[in-house]
C-alpha cells in the first residue's frame, strides 16, 4: 500500500510542477497578440497559389477578396451593385462607362487609375470563360482619364454587369497595371491590391499560414455590406488563416478557444461542437454546393443520348445525398441545373433525377439504345472526402439497371489528368466522373462550364451540342430578368433531355465560430469584413 501511495504523491508533485512551469511560461506566447484584435481562422484548404486570376481554386479566390477590390459586385438579391465604380450604359447597350469612386488606393499608396482597371480586365478576359465571351464582342476598352473607363462593344451583351460582378470562379480583381501586365499563363509575383486587407508577405508560409492586416487607408462604401457588395468595414487588426489537415484537431482547437472560426465542419463531427457552449454552428453560405455526374460524350456508350438518359434514370439523388451528408438538414434534392435558390434556377422536367431511381425505365432505355454491355469506366477519387461516396452509390445503381461498370479508384490528381484525355477508354480515356461546384459557379448559362456545347473546346466530356450553343447566344441577347429566365428554362429542359451532365442535388457545409465572433454577414464566399471580435 505504502509504495503505491508514495508513487501517487510523487506523480501529483510532478504534475503540479509541470502545470506550474507551463502556466508560468505560457504568457510569453500571448504577449505578442496583446492590444490588437486577431481572428484566427481555419480555412478549407491551404493557400498555395496567390494569383486569383490564373486559378479557380476557392481558397485563392477568397484570398483575392481579402486584398483586392472589384469594380462591381452582386448583392444578396443577385443584383450587380457599384463597388469601386459606378456605371452608365448607352441607350443602344453598346457602351459602358465606369467611373471610379474617390479615395481608392493600392496598398503601396498609389491611387487606383483607369489604366490599372483596363489592364486587370484584359488579363482576366484571357482566363475567364465569361470574360472571353465579352471580349469576343469588344471593340475597345480604354481609360479616358484617371477615373473613367469606357468599354465599347460591337454588339449588345446584356449580362455584362452580371459577368463582371460574379463572385466565384475568377472574379475580375483589380491590380496595379504593372502586375496585371503579367502573362495570364504565368503567376503574378507581386501581391498588392486595393482591398480592405494587406497581405503580409513575411509571415506567409505556403499551405500553412497566411496573415492579413487591416488596410488603414481603405475607404469603405456607405451602404451596408450584402454578399460581396456594400461597405467592407474592417473591425479587426489582423486575420490569420491557418490550415489544419485533421478535422478533429480543428474542432478541438475551436472548443479550446485556440482558433476563432472554422470555415467548414464535417457533418459527422457536428455533435462534438454542438455540445460546446462557447461555439455556434451555422450555415453562412445558404446557396451551398451541387454535386454532378459528367458523362463523356465522345465515346460509347455515352455518345448515345438514350444511354445517357438511362444512366440519369438509374441514379437517385436522395440516396446519393444521404450517403454523402447523412443529415437531411444539410442537403436538398434539387433538379435545377442553375441551382434551386437562384434567379435563373428552375426544376422543369427534372423528375427523372429528383423522383427517385426508375430502374425499369433505365432498362427500357438501354434496350432501346441497343446497349451491348460495353463497360463504363467510372473514375473514383479516394482522397477527397466530398467526392468519395458518389461513384460508389452510382456504380451500384447503374449495375442494377443493367450497365457493366468498371469503377477505378485513384487519387484526385489522377482523375484530373485522366479526365483531360479525349482518347477511347482502351487508350486511357474514361466514361463518367463526379465533381462538385459552388452554386454561384453554375448559376448562369455563361458561368456554368458544363452547359458549354462547343465540342473539343467544351469542358471535359466535350458535348458537341449546337442547340445549346444557340440557346446560350439567345441568353446573351435576352434583355431583362424575365426574358433571361425564359431562355434559362429552355436550357434546363434541353439538359434534362440531352443529359449534358447529371444534376445530383445540392448540399450545405456548416461553419463554426466562437461566440465572441459576431456580425458575420451571410455570403457564399467567407468574408472577414463587418465581423467583430469581443473579448472572451
Amino acid at each position: 500500500m505504502l509504495p503505491l501511495r508514495s508513487a501517487l504523491k510523487q506523480t501529483r508533485g510532478l504534475a503540479a510542477a509541470f502545470a506550474a512551469t507551463t502556466a508560468l511560461l505560457a504568457p510569453a506566447s500571448l504577449a505578442a497578440q496583446e492590444g490588437e484584435t486577431t481572428i484566427t481562422a481555419v480555412m478549407h484548404s491551404g493557400l498555395r497559389v496567390l494569383d486569383p486570376v490564373i486559378t479557380t481554386a476557392h481558397i485563392t479566390r477568397n484570398h483575392g477578396y481579402m486584398i483586392y477590390d472589384v469594380l462591381t459586385a452582386v448583392d444578396a438579391n443577385f443584383e450587380p451593385q457599384p463597388q469601386m465604380a459606378s456605371w452608365e450604359i448607352s441607350e443602344d447597350g453598346l457602351t459602358y462607362t465606369f467611373t471610379l469612386r474617390d479615395g481608392l488606393k493600392f496598398h503601396d499608396g498609389a491611387p487606383v487609375t483607369g489604366e490599372d482597371v483596363v489592364a486587370s480586365l484584359k488579363r482576366w478576359g484571357e482566363r475567364d470563360s465569361g470574360g472571353q465571351l465579352i471580349f469576343d464582342v469588344t471593340e475597345s476598352l480604354e481609360a479616358t482619364d484617371d477615373k473613367t473607363v469606357v468599354w465599347t462593344l460591337t454588339e449588345a451583351f446584356a449580362p455584362l454587369l452580371t459577368v463582371i460582378s460574379k463572385q466565384s470562379a475568377v472574379p475580375p480583381f483589380i491590380m496595379p497595371k504593372r502586375v496585371a501586365e503579367t502573362s495570364p499563363d504565368e503567376t503574378i509575383t507581386e501581391y498588392i491590391g486595393s482591398g480592405p486587407f494587406v497581405f503580409n508577405q513575411d509571415e506567409y508560409e505556403p499551405g500553412v499560414n497566411v496573415t492579413y492586416e487591416k488596410f488603414d487607408d481603405y475607404v469603405p462604401r456607405d451602404e451596408e455590406a450584402s454578399w460581396m457588395a456594400g461597405g467592407k468595414v474592417v473591425n479587426v487588426d489582423r486575420v490569420v488563416w491557418t490550415t489544419m489537415p485533421d478535422a478533429l484537431t480543428a474542432i478541438n482547437a475551436l472548443s479550446a478557444g485556440e482558433i476563432d472560426y472554422l470555415e467548414q465542419v464535417q457533418i459527422d463531427l457536428l455533435p462534438i461542437l454542438e455540445s460546446s457552449p462557447d461555439v455556434t454552428v451555422e450555415t453562412r453560405d445558404e446557396l451551398g454546393y451541387v454535386t454532378i455526374g459528367r458523362p463523356n460524350h465522345l465515346h460509347p456508350p455515352f455518345d448515345n443520348k438514350l444511354v445517357r438518359q438511362a444512366a440519369m434514370a438509374a441514379l437517385d439523388q436522395e440516396s446519393m445525398l444521404q450517403t454523402m451528408q447523412g443529415d437531411p438538414a444539410y442537403y436538398n434534392v434539387c433538379g435545377a441545373i442553375f441551382g434551386c435558390a437562384t434567379p435563373l434556377g428552375d426544376e422543369a422536367e427534372s423528375e427523372i433525377v429528383t423522383g427517385g431511381a426508375d430502374i425499369e425505365k433505365a432498362k427500357a432505355l438501354l434496350e432501346e439504345a441497343g446497349y451491348d454491355g460495353t463497360p463504363i469506366t467510372l473514375m473514383a477519387p479516394t482522397d477527397v472526402t466530398t467526392l468519395i461516396n458518389q461513384p460508389v452509390v452510382a456504380a451500384q445503381a447503374l449495375r442494377e439497371a443493367g450497365f457493366e461498370v468498371d469503377m477505378q479508384s485513384m487519387d484526385w490528381q489522377s482523375v484530373v489528368q485522366r479526365r483531360a484525355q479525349q482518347s477511347p477508354v482502351s487508350e486511357g480515356g474514361w466514361n463518367l466522373f463526379f465533381t462538385n461546384w459552388m452554386v454561384p459557379e453554375i448559376s448562369d448559362p455563361l458561368i456554368n462550364v458544363m452547359v458549354n456545347g462547343r465540342g473539343d473546346d467544351a469542358w471535359f466530356g466535350w458535348p458537341d451540342d449546337p442547340e445549346i450553343e444557340e440557346l446560350r447566344k439567345k441568353f446573351m441577347k435576352a434583355e431583362g430578368a424575365e426574358a433571361q429566365k425564359a431562355v434559362a428554362v429552355e436550357i434546363q429542359k434541353h439538359v434534362m433531355d440531352n443529359v449534358n451532365y447529371i444534376m445530383m442535388g445540392e448540399y450545405l457545409i456548416p461553419q463554426a465560430r466562437r461566440n465572441a465572433i459576431q456580425n458575420m454577414i451571410p455570403s457564399p464566399v467567407p468574408v472577414f469584413w463587418n465581423m467583430t471580435k469581443e473579448a472572451e
Binding site: 506566447s29 478541438n252 484530373v416
Partner: protein, 313 residues
Amino acid sequence: MLVYILKRVLATIPVMLIVAVFVFLLLRLTPGDPAAILAGDAATPAQLERIRDRLGLNDPLLTQFFTWMGQLLRGDLGVSLLSNTSVAGMLGDRLGPTLNIALMTITISVLLAVPMGVIAAWRHRTWVDFLVMSFSVLGFSVPVFVIGYILIQIFAIELRWVPVQGYKAPSEGFGAFFSRAILPSLTLATIYVALIARMTRASMLEVLGEDYIRTARAKGVRENVVLFRHALRNAAVPILTIIGTGFALLISGVVVTESVFNIPGIGRLTVDAILARDYPVIQAMILLTAGIYVFVNLLVDVSYSFFDPRIRY
C-alpha cells in the same frame, strides 16, 4: 578514421545521383498534372497547355532532367510550381519543427527506454520485466494517432495544461515551444520507447550472460557499475543502430502525428507536394531524406568505435 569518413562521404555521391534519377523518372511516370492543380477545375485544355509550356513541363524529359541537375549543382533546389516560392526556403521553414520534435522525441525515448531495458534485463523474468515488456507490446500495437488523441483529450482538453495543437519555434520563447511540442513528442516517443527498450533488454540479456560479467561481479564490483559500465557499453552497438534509424525515420516525416498536432513539418510538406504533383518540392524532399539517412548511418557507424574499441576503421 578520417580516411574512412572521407570515403563514406564520397560514396554518397553515386547514391544521391541514383536517387535523383530514380525520383525524377518515377514522378514523371506517375499520372497527374501540376498545371491542372494550378489552374483549377474550369480551365480549358488550351489554357492548360499554355501553362504547361510556361512551367517547362512540355520540354523533353532529358531537357527537364538536365535543367534540374544544373540547378542542383549550383545549389539551387528550384521553385515550387504552385506557390512560386523557393523550395529551399520552404524546406528551411519546415525542417525546424520536424528537427526539434525529432530531437525532443529521441531524447525522451532514450532517457526512458535505456534504463527500462537495462532494468528489465537485470530483473529478468520478474514483474518488472513483465511490466516493461507489456508496455513495449502496447507501444507497438496502438496506432500513433490514437495515442495522440488520448493525450490531447487528457492534457489539453480535460486538464488544459497545454494547447491542443500548433507549433512555436524555441526562439519565440521556450515555454511556448515546450507546451506545444511535449504532446507530439510523447506520442511519438511511445513507439520509440517500446522499440529501444526491447532492443536494450535483448542486447543486455546476451551480455549479462558473458564470463566477464560474472568475473566483475565475483570481484565485488558494484551492481550499477556492472550494469551501466561493463554490460551496457558492450550491448550498445545494436541499441545505437536502432536509435539512429529511429531518428532518421522521425526526420523524414511523421505525417500522422504532424496532422493530429497541426505541426507544419517535413512530412506534411511532402504529402501536400505529392498530392499536388509539385515536382521540384517532392524531388528536393526525397533527396533531403536520402541525405539524412546516409548522414545518420555514417554517424552511427562512427560512434560504434567510441563504445566498442574493438571496432576500428
